[in-house]
Symmetry: C2
Subunit: 232 residues, 2 copies
């Protein structure tokens, strides 16, 4: 098999993301402790986020708006001002959170970029993702960056056609079975799952363990060896 | 001069946008009438938006967060719940606002697309801009769509290199001197200003009336004639 292009997810593949959302959610739980149990709060927030997804899409700004909406629901529509101020501050801090590549990412990408065209493929707020990439110091390793509103099979077909030699000669690597693995396989690419310890409920799905073009890797450090093996 | 590619701004060039922001701002003034004069409210909102621009970027979600922050400022940090609920609803309605091409846009683009490669180049929320393009029914007329976080000269250089034959053989058309005209001219493209009756304060700038590659057009309907004249 000929492989020319490697697509990489960003959040929770190259740097922490879900951890930052969870930290904010912990803070939200503490903020709301007087009016909601953690379980009830989490369930309601998940429901609000799901309902808002079509309108807000992915990213911190929509999440912040969903936090405010959830706070409204548990305070009879009259949240104390301090609650709103704290949620706004939490959203702002998420956007300004320092970005550091996960262990091994720098080296793995530097090596891969010698032999393959690297394409960053990520969802989220356009500006925030660009800012995170710039802050990560990884930007120069990528031949192209595609920030997309949804990751489905047609997204991968389009991106790998535009920036590579088609999905059939591409590998996608990411931490989400639902967004990075299943649609990339459907588009005809190979796909490597590098799990992150936390997964957002919305992204949960079973890995396609028997698929011939799929592999689960312990670390992104193993990606180059697998891509080479595919190209054997 | 050879022209192969025509870039088009979206908001307030192809469809109404600022009008919808102004309607929301009117609603916000009414909502805040008991606590703030319209002038003081507008001034504070403009200041909050400007301060948040680096973090939030352009678009409705960041605007909604800025409205909430402004409401906090005029209520001693204790806005009534109804105020927050109304702001959240206003943001949601902006995102769901029906999109209709401005008069003459359909025909002008249909004609232009016969002879030139059309590229949509716009700022704003990624998902929302995609949704507006889909709702407008104009999507098929564009060879490419670029939703960008900032419109500077390097943006136009990159986009016209990727989707055309370089900025020197491209025309950019939009309603903002600051975002559509000056940086496109700097990149080496021609630029046509089609003014919209309203301009966001942040986008205000004087048109470069003496620039040889610039024209101000009364309507997008005149764009094809000007592009043809350039290609003479």
């Amino acid at each position: 098999m000929r492989i020319t292009t490697v697509g990489l997810d960003a959040d929770d593949t190259l740097w922490h993301n879900e951890t930052i959302f969870r930290l904010t959610q912990d803070r939200f739980r503490a903020l709301m402790a007087d009016v909601a149990s953690p379980e009830a709060l989490d369930a309601r927030l998940a429901e609000v986020e799901r309902r808002n997804l079509d309108l807000y899409g992915y990213g911190v700004k929509g999440f912040t708006l969903s936090l405010i909406e959830t706070a409204m629901a548990f305070t009879g529509g009259e949240p104390p001002g301090r609650m709103i101020a704290d949620i706004l501050a939490a959203g702002r801090e998420m956007l300004a959170y320092p970005v550091e590549p996960l262990p091994g990412v720098d080296l793995a990408l530097a090596e891969l970029s010698q032999s393959y065209r690297l394409v960053l493929i990520t969802k989220g707020d356009l500006l925030h993702q660009e800012q995170k990439l710039a802050a990560s110091g990884l930007g120069d390793l990528f031949a192209a960056v595609e920030i997309v509103s949804e990751k489905d099979a047609s997204t991968y077909t389009r991106v790998f056609a535009r920036h590579g030699t088609g999905a059939e000669e591409a590998v996608m690597c990411g931490n989400s079975v639902r967004s990075d693995i299943l649609p990339a396989l459907k588009a005809g690419a190979c796909a490597a799952l590098v799990p992150y310890p936390l997964t957002w409920a919305h992204e949960m799905a079973d890995p396609p363990v028997d698929h011939p073009r799929f592999a689960e890797l312990a670390s992104i450090t193993d990606l180059r060896a697998w891509v080479r093996w595919l190209s054997r």
